[in-house]
Subunit: 410 residues, 2 copies
C-alpha cells in the first residue's frame, strides 16, 4: 500500500470548524486505500497567544524554552485533529515531535534533522490509523524538544516522507498551486501543472511564499515528489519533481517579485582596506539576510560593494555597519529605498543566453530602469523602482508568453 | 544539599505577571541553598480554552488525545515559568511529563504512576538549575502521554519527592493552610500548624478542596512531609506529617462540611431479592460516587439501603437506577434533597467514644435533626438539612473549643 504524507498549515487550521473540515478531507484521502500521515502546524490563534504570553515575560526567551512553548501549540493542534478524525469515523493517533522519531541537532529554534526513525509511525499505519504529526518539531539526542524554524512543518512532512519511502508529499495550501506570476498582480497568470525542484527553489527564494526552500531542497535531495494544492477547492495543484515535461520553447516558466527592497552600498578608499568577506560575516552574525550582491569599481580605483536587504532589516543593518565601521574599514556607505526585485525563472534558461538579453531589452523599451542584476542558471533577477514593479511583472509575463497553455510531452 | 519539591496550581499562574511573581519566589527559595523542583499546573485560561476547542470538535474525545491536548497546556506553562526564572536571573529548565521519568500505566485521563526514574532531574539539579515540571502528566510504557486526573499536579509533586528523596513538598495554595473550619462560614476558625496524614485525608475527603486525597495518600505511604501554604502571603502554613504533636484534650481538630447532598433510598420486598453489592457495582461502573451508606430494616422484614450522592450526579444516578431496576430487583426508591454533611475530624477520636455522643447531644440541644450518621476512626459525619449547615458547623466548632490555641508538646 502506498504511503502519502500531507501537510496542512495555519490557514487551514484557524478554528475547530476548519479542523473538522481537514479531518473529513483526510478521511476521504485515506479511503482511497493509502497509508496516510498528516503533518499540522499550530492553530494560528494559539501561536499568537503563546508568543504574546512569552513576550510579556521576557524579550529574550531562551531558545530551548521557546521551543518547548511553541511545540506545545502544534501538539495541541495535532490532538485536536486526531479527535476530529475519530469523531467523524476515522482512526487516528496524534504524535508530538519526540514520538515521531525525528532526531535533530541541538540548535534550538532552527534545528536540523539528523535522522528519522519511522518505526513507530509505521506501526500506527499498519493498524490503519491516520497518523497526525505535530509539525516543525523533533527531539535532540539529549531528549530536549527542538523546532525547525521557518518552513518547519513542510520540512517535517518531507523528512517523514523520506523515512517512510512515501510516494509523495501533498502540501495543502491557501493557494491552488504555483502560478506563472502572482495572480494578484498579473491578471494573465495561470497555474503551472508541473515545475522542477530547481524552479521551485527559485520561486520560493524569489518571494513566492508557498513553500519554504528548505523543504524543497530536502525533497530534491531524496527525489520526493511534492504537490502544492488548495485545501479549499478540490482542484489539481502543481506537481514538483525532478524532470518536468514542458514545451521546448517555453524557456521562462514564471515571474516572481519581491517588494520593499533596499540597496546598501559601501565603498573603500583602496583595495588594500577592502575586506568584503568581513562585511557579510558581520551581517550574517547579526542574522541580516543579504540577497543580491554586486561589486563595482568607481573611478577606476575605489572598490564599492552594493547589496540588497529587506526593509524590515534595514535599521538593524545600519546599526551593525555603524558599530563595525572601524573594524570593517570602509570609507562611505549610502543606500537607496523604494526598490523591488522582479525575476524570471525557468530551468531551460541556462542553455539559452538570449533570455536575459530579451528581458533587458523589453524593460528598456518600457523605460523601466534596471538598478542591479543577478543571474543564476535558472533565473534572472533585476532590481527596479518599486512603483514599476507591477508593470514590469506584467510586461515580462507577456514577453515570454506565459499566459499560453503548455503542451506537455505526453 | 536538601531537595525540596514545590507545587503551584492554576490560581498562582493566571497571568504572565503572576508567573513572574512565582519565578521570583522560587529563585528566592533556591537561594536558601536547596535543590528545587517546581511542579506547575496549567494556566487556567489555557486549560479553559483548550477544553472549549476540544468540545467544539467532539462530545466524546478519546482519552489518549485529550491527554495529549491538556498535557500541552502544562508544558506551555512550565516553559513560561522557566523563561521567567531565567529572565529574573535564575537558572531553569522546563520538563514535560515524558522528560521527567514519570512512568504510568495505560489508563489515559486517570493514569497511575508505576515508576519514577529521576536521573534526568538529578542531572539538572546538579547543574544548579531550578527544574520546572509540567504537572499531572507522565508517559506510558508505550511512549504515550498520560495524565493523572484530579489532584494530578500534587501527585506529580509527591511522586517526584519520593523518587528524589526530598525533604518535603510545599503546596503553594490560595489559602494559608488547613483551618479548623472553613473561615468563610466559621468566624472563629483558626489555622492548624500541624495535622496528620490521616486527618488531612479526612479533611480532603470531607470537602476541604485544598489537597487531593490521592497526593496525601502517596505522601503518607512514603512519609513525605507536606506543607500547605499561601502563594500570596509569606506566612507559615500547615505541616502535614505522620506524628503530630497536639494537646491531649484536643480530640477534635476540625470541622468540615459539604453542601448539596442528596439521600437516595432503595428498598426490597425481602432479603432474598436484595443484592446490595450489585447496586453499588452498577453505580461505580457509571462513575457515580456514593458517600455515606446506611442500611436499615423497615417493618422488621423489608431491607432498605440509603446512601448519599452529590447533587451533580443525581440525574445520572436516577437514570442508572431506573435502567437497572429489573436486574437489581428493588421494589421502591425515594430520595431527599436539600441536605448537607457536617463532620468533625481528629485522629485521637478513636480512643474516646464520647466524642460522637457529645456531637449528637449538642446538635440535639440546637434542634438540628440528624438524618444519617457515618463514623470512622478519626471522624464523625452527620447528614442534616442544608439550611442548618452553617449553624451546625459553628456550634460544633464552639463545642469542641477549636478556636482555642493548641499547646504543642515542645
Amino acid at each position: 500500500m502506498e504511503t502519502v504524507v500531507v501537510k496542512f498549515g495555519g490557514p487551514a487550521l484557524t478554528t475547530p470548524e476548519k479542523i473538522v473540515q481537514v479531518a473529513k478531507k483526510v478521511i476521504k484521502e485515506q479511503g482511497r486505500g493509502i497509508n496516510l500521515v498528516v503533518v499540522v502546524s499550530s492553530m494560528p490563534a494559539l501561536r499568537r497567544e503563546f508568543r504574546q504570553y512569552a513576550a510579556e515575560i521576557t524579550d529574550e526567551p531562551s531558545k530551548r524554552e521557546m521551543d518547548a512553548l511553541v511545540a506545545s501549540a502544534a501538539q495541541m493542534t495535532s490532538a485536536m485533529l486526531a479527535m476530529a478524525i475519530q469523531e467523524h469515523g476515522g482512526k487516528a493517533v496524534s504524535l508530538a515531535g519526540w514520538q515521531t522519531g525525528i532526531q535533530t541537532n541541538q540548535k534550538h529554534g532552527n534545528a536540523r534533522i539528523s535522522h528519522v526513525d519511522s518505526k513507530r509511525i509505521e506501526e500506527h499505519l499498519a493498524l490503519g490509523e491516520i497518523v497526525v504529526v505535530a509539525g516543525f518539531q523533533g527531539v535532540t539526542g539529549t531528549d530536549n524538544i527542538s523546532t525547525f524554524g521557518k518552513g518547519g512543518s513542510e520540512t517535517s512532512a518531507v523528512a517523514l516522507a523520506v523515512a517512510l519511502e512515501a510516494e509523495r508529499v501533498e502540501i495543502f495550501s491557501s493557494v491552488e498551486g504555483i502560478f506563472t506570476a502572482d495572480p494578484e498582480i498579473v491578471k494573465e497568470s495561470r497555474k503551472l501543472p508541473e515545475v522542477s525542484y530547481d524552479e521551485m527553489l527559485e520561486f520560493a527564494n524569489l518571494g513566492a511564499k508557498i513553500l519554504h526552500p528548505r523543504a524543497v531542497e530536502l525533497a530534491k535531495k531524496y527525489n520526493i515528489p511534492l504537490i502544492v494544492r488548495s485545501f479549499v477547492q478540490d482542484v489539481e495543484g502543481t506537481f514538483i519533481k525532478g524532470d518536468v515535461d514542458m514545451e521546448k520553447n517555453l524557456l521562462v516558466r514564471g515571474v516572481a517579485y519581491e517588494s520593499d527592497i533596499i540597496r546598501l552600498t559601501i565603498g573603500y578608499d583602496s583595495y588594500e582596506t577592502a575586506s568584503l568577506a568581513e562585511v557579510f560575516s558581520v551581517l550574517a552574525e547579526n542574522d541580516i539576510n543579504v540577497d543580491i550582491i554586486v561589486q563595482a569599481v568607481i573611478d577606476g580605483v575605489k572598490p564599492t560593494i552594493s547589496f540588497t536587504i529587506s526593509k524590515d532589516e534595514f535599521a538593524e543593518a545600519l546599526r551593525v555597519l555603524e558599530t563595525s565601521k572601524l573594524s570593517l574599514g570602509f570609507s562611505f556607505a549610502d543606500f537607496e529605498v523604494g526598490l523591488a526585485k522582479v525575476s524570471i525563472i525557468g530551468s531551460a534558461m541556462a542553455s539559452n543566453p538570449g533570455v536575459a538579453a530579451r528581458m533587458f531589452a523589453r524593460l528598456g523599451r518600457e523605460h523601466i530602469p534596471v538598478k542591479m542584476v543577478s543571474t543564476s542558471e535558472i533565473k534572472v533577477s533585476v532590481v527596479i523602482p518599486q512603483d514599476e514593479m507591477v508593470r514590469a511583472a506584467n510586461v515580462l509575463h507577456e514577453e515570454f508568453n506565459l499566459a499560453m497553455k503548455e503542451v506537455t510531452a505526453s
